[in-house]
Amino acid sequence: MLTKEQIAQRIAQELQDGYYVNLGIGIPTLVANYVPTGINVTLQSENGLLGMGPFPTEDEIDADLINAGKQTVTTEAGSVFFDSATSFAMIRSGRVDLTVLGAMEVNDKGDIANWKIPGKMVKGMGGAMDLVASAKNIIVAMQHTNRSGDSKLLSSLTLPVTGLGCVKKIVTNLCVIDVTSSGFELKELAHGISVEDVQNATEGKLVVEGVIPEIQF
């Protein structure tokens, strides 16, 4: 099984030189720690920053410089600030090459639910609906099952949808899956995990073709 850090590390292998990337809150944020050597990516934070740097030192802290998770951050050389309308112009017009998000549920058509649990306090979708409606490439980082052990990879969503047919790839603690027209295509397995383990943890349509390789780091 992969740790949260390993999920982030595996997703980082998808980064390509020159990519503009938007990372969601939680596991997706960790992807920034594993950018492969020799590859330059520019992080977009939807509150109005392109070229986001790491967290500041005590001396560098600036209340006017935060990320979309409201955490204090820094800038990289060549960074730029802009207003929220410009930020979502970048997002909706498809300029952001890769978006990494967490999810509560994904179905085998690539629909995603990650903003609302009926009966619980609804906090809002933030920028998630704009991101999933327009991003060219969306990777979901999440645990394969929820706390009760139920599959989060479903044939149909039980929670309110955030966006339709948008998820291209899912990296969970068990495996790497591509979402294609045939369903959840199993591509790689975590060390010590079998196809049967994934099958048992996947409620939606799982497609297994040939020998499935182990995730390499």
Binding site: F81, D83, A85
Partner: protein, 232 residues
């Protein structure tokens, strides 16, 4: 015409019970702290507030919620606020949640003479319910309308007495679009200078959008998530 007012108490003149106001800021970053305090002091109530977030319990719009001045919040994300949750669950407070980009664009449209626009955000979700859907080039879009707002209150870093504004870092966020969108726009700034002192090349909000301006005092600039790296 003199746009300069003494302070927030004077700036909020004319905001009345039941009005709709926009408040700039993302989380607690770039919020009009002085004007919020004056609204609370004045006890202006039944307000509909358009703002990306609703502050925290004891700061930002949270102070207006505590004083029960807000009838409705229009936001994209309203976590981090227990009083908000209590009022919402008890039915005292109404909330309309919108995708963040839609919220920004509805402000921009309001300030641009554009009554409505089509966006893909929220298609197929409950956000689209009751809204016109239209297909362009094989993809589905939702029609969203420009906001209508009696007042917009924004916070800038520097401003001149004509009303030109410059924002700092990510404290810019929703402020420029909201500055364009109010029937009356109030700007509070950390530093108020004479016309000519700001380089016209670096002004974010042109003076024409701003009706009242003042230099704020005692900015707390509270940090919501103080994250530090250990690098040397």
């Amino acid at each position: 015409m003199n746009k300069v007012v003494k302070n927030a108490d004077e700036a909020i003149y004319g905001i009345q019970d039941g009005m709709t106001i926009m408040l700039g800021g993302f989380g607690l970053c770039g919020i009009p702290e002085n004007s919020i305090s004056s609204i609370v002091k004045e006890g202006i109530k039944d307000l509909t507030c358009i703002s990306n977030n609703a502050g925290v319990d004891d700061f930002g719009i949270g102070l207006m919620l505590q004083a029960k001045l807000v009838k409705k919040m229009i936001s994209s994300y309203v976590g981090e606020n227990a009083e908000f949750e209590r009022q919402l669950l008890s039915g005292e407070l109404e909330v309309e949640l919108l995708p963040q980009g839609t919220l920004a664009e509805r402000c921009r449209a309001a300030g641009s003479g554009i009554p409505a626009f089509y966006t893909p955000a929220g298609y197929g979700t409950e956000i689209a319910e009751g809204k016109e859907i239209r297909e362009f080039e094989g993809k589905q879009f939702i029609m969203e309308k420009a906001f209508e707002s009696d007042f917009a209150i924004v916070k800038a870093w520097k401003g001149d007495t004509d009303g030109n504004l410059i924002f700092k870092s990510t404290a810019r966020n929703f402020n420029p679009m909201m500055a364009m969108a109010g029937k009356i726009t109030i700007a509070e700034v950390e530093e108020l200078v004479e016309p000519g002192e700001l380089d016209p090349n670096f002004i974010h909000t042109p003076s024409i959008f701003v009706n009242r301006i003042f230099q704020g005092v005692d900015y707390e600039k509270r940090i919501e998530q103080r994250t530090i790296s250990n690098k040397q």
